[in-house]
Symmetry: C2
């Protein structure tokens, strides 16, 4: 019997989840829950019901894992604990500083409801976290580096769009090549914010807006831009739509560590992601971990989990024998 | 109480293990077992006994995990099952094709003895295996690539040394930069053996040996060299000792995968190791996983395990709360 998956929220993440579930031979999409009018939500899979979120409780015995596809700012802090009372759930909560608080809330709800709830699954937090943990355990004497990009920062794009005179904007975070090379070469550099990442903005102006004034406002914006070298390009709406509607992202996690009687030997562990579609990759991670959620629940585990609690084999459809023969 | 570690075999791996245990605040080295005359084995740590391997059984209750530091060809197939009857054990068995057979033997012995026995821990098999498994689970539509080097191949160095007229030799396996770039660019190339790796040999000749003849014998050697582009340098013994006594190694694991309704989006996952000392890095991995062996044993698990069975958090000294707050 296939693992029955539910989706809550049908934006980029919901659609990406639907695609990833279709690619998983051991899973089937059972239902999509939405806070919108269900008749206005057109999904890709034929024959799967789209249901009002308020009616979720009716589905408690009809799905094995609910994949939460809302945002971290306001949706998930409320939805994940609520849904963990009804279902095994998994989310991609990515506000790093609030993970301990979210974990505590979700853990309580999942234990009370008798479910497994996995949080903060994706690539950062998620795969990048895994790599930080493995690398720190293996090389206790060392330094960590995380670089993001080249990719779109939604928060920085939004910040530029809020400037008067800006019609549309996209901001790319770009790791500085020289910094990457210094880390790769084992130089263990101390890097300032400015030395690690560049910011590049593509901006469409409202008619009559003052380009020089907008550029200055971007470059001097506290928190978002003032500590970075920022490049601003002004383009027209056609070029914007043609070249800047993608959702590519990626990044690098490094650990540079030393071993030896006198720490005379250096080792570099590098993990790199280059992603055409941030939401489709994130949901591919979510769906693989949904497989683990089902397995951990079937084993009798309960409560809140993260990627750090999951044996890698639990992400796979293959048996232990197959994995050892083909991947080890 | 610290985890008490035993070591069997005091070559490069044994010494690396001793160094890694000293760097682990939660572990202590309890004993080194050797098949040599114990009085001839000088270890780094003061006060730790060096004991004949035949006396291992006397130590059954005095160590928590025995780290096996023998070779995969003849030592580990015998030692790991034998020792799993007496202790929790961990090895770095790396003959990929024989892992299923080794697993079966060790599993039987460990279950009969009531212990946890972890096999094939290191970087390949080990960390590279983990990355293949994670990446395949996340991107089911895709292609895998593994490159090794730049690093010393012991087997190829030995093969060159067996040629008459060769006094000393070291062989480096080098990934072809053009192939790496094609994979990184998402071109999904089909690569022949020759297109993936170069082989570079540094050879010291016996007096009076014919360099041209030796070079031809190397380049035409079946299995080892004939399918590769091979570069041969003849050097003198001084240069050999000065520049070619290191044990650097490393390599790359890639998965290139596609997502999307029409598989229109490409993603590249790259994992790269650059290691000054192959044995010291391998033993750093072994020691981190020895921590997991102890924890799995304390939980009541028994039998043979691999890295695929271990939750990442089990490698760490930190609590779940600390890991979530600092690494997730």
């Amino acid at each position: 019997m296939k693992t029955r998956i539910g989706i809550l929220g049908y934006g980029n993440l919901g659609r990406g989840t639907e695609i990833a579930v279709a690619a998983a031979e051991d899973m089937e999409l059972a239902v999509v829950f939405t806070r919108r009018d269900p008749s206005a939500v057109k999904i890709l899979t034929e024959g799967v019901p789209v249901v009002k979120a308020e009616e979720m409780a009716d589905w408690a015995d009809k799905i094995d894992v609910l994949i939460l596809c809302g945002g971290s700012a306001t949706d998930l802090p409320v939805q994940t604990p609520q849904c963990a009372a009804l279902f095994n759930v998994i989310d991609s909560f990515d506000t790093h500083a609030r993970i301990p608080e979210h974990f505590a809330n979700v853990d309580q709800a999942a234990k009370a409801g008798g479910h497994v709830a996995m949080i903060s699954v994706g690539w950062d937090p998620g795969l990048f976290s895994l790599n930080r943990v493995y690398a720190n355990a293996i090389l206790p004497n060392g330094k960590d580096y995380t670089f993001w990009g080249k990719g779109v920062s939604q928060g920085h794009s939004d910040a530029v769009r809020r400037i008067p005179g800006v019609k549309n904007a996209k901001q790319y975070t770009i790791p500085v090549e020289k910094a990457l090379e210094a880390v790769r070469n084992g130089e263990d550099p101390e890097l300032t914010t400015r030395e690690k990442h560049l910011r590049e903005c593509f901006v469409v102006l409202e008619e009559g807006a003052d380009a020089a004034e907008v550029e200055q406002q971007i470059k001097e914006m506290p928190n978002y831009f003032v500590d970075y070298n920022t490049i601003v390009h002004f383009i027209n709406e056609e070029e914007f739509q043609a070249n800047h509607s993608g959702m590519a992202h990626g990044g690098f996690v490094f650990r540079s560590g030393k071993t030896g009687v006198n720490l005379e030997n250096s080792h570099i562990i590098e993990y790199r992601l280059t992603l055409d579609s941030n939401p489709e990759f994130t949901t591919s991670v979510l769906v693989a971990y949904a497989r683990a959620v089902k397995r951990m629940f079937d084993e009798g585990q309960r409560g809140c989990k993260t990627v750090l609690d999951v044996p890698p084999a639990y992400l796979c459809t293959q048996s232990g024998d197959e994995l050892r023969a083909h991947f080890l």
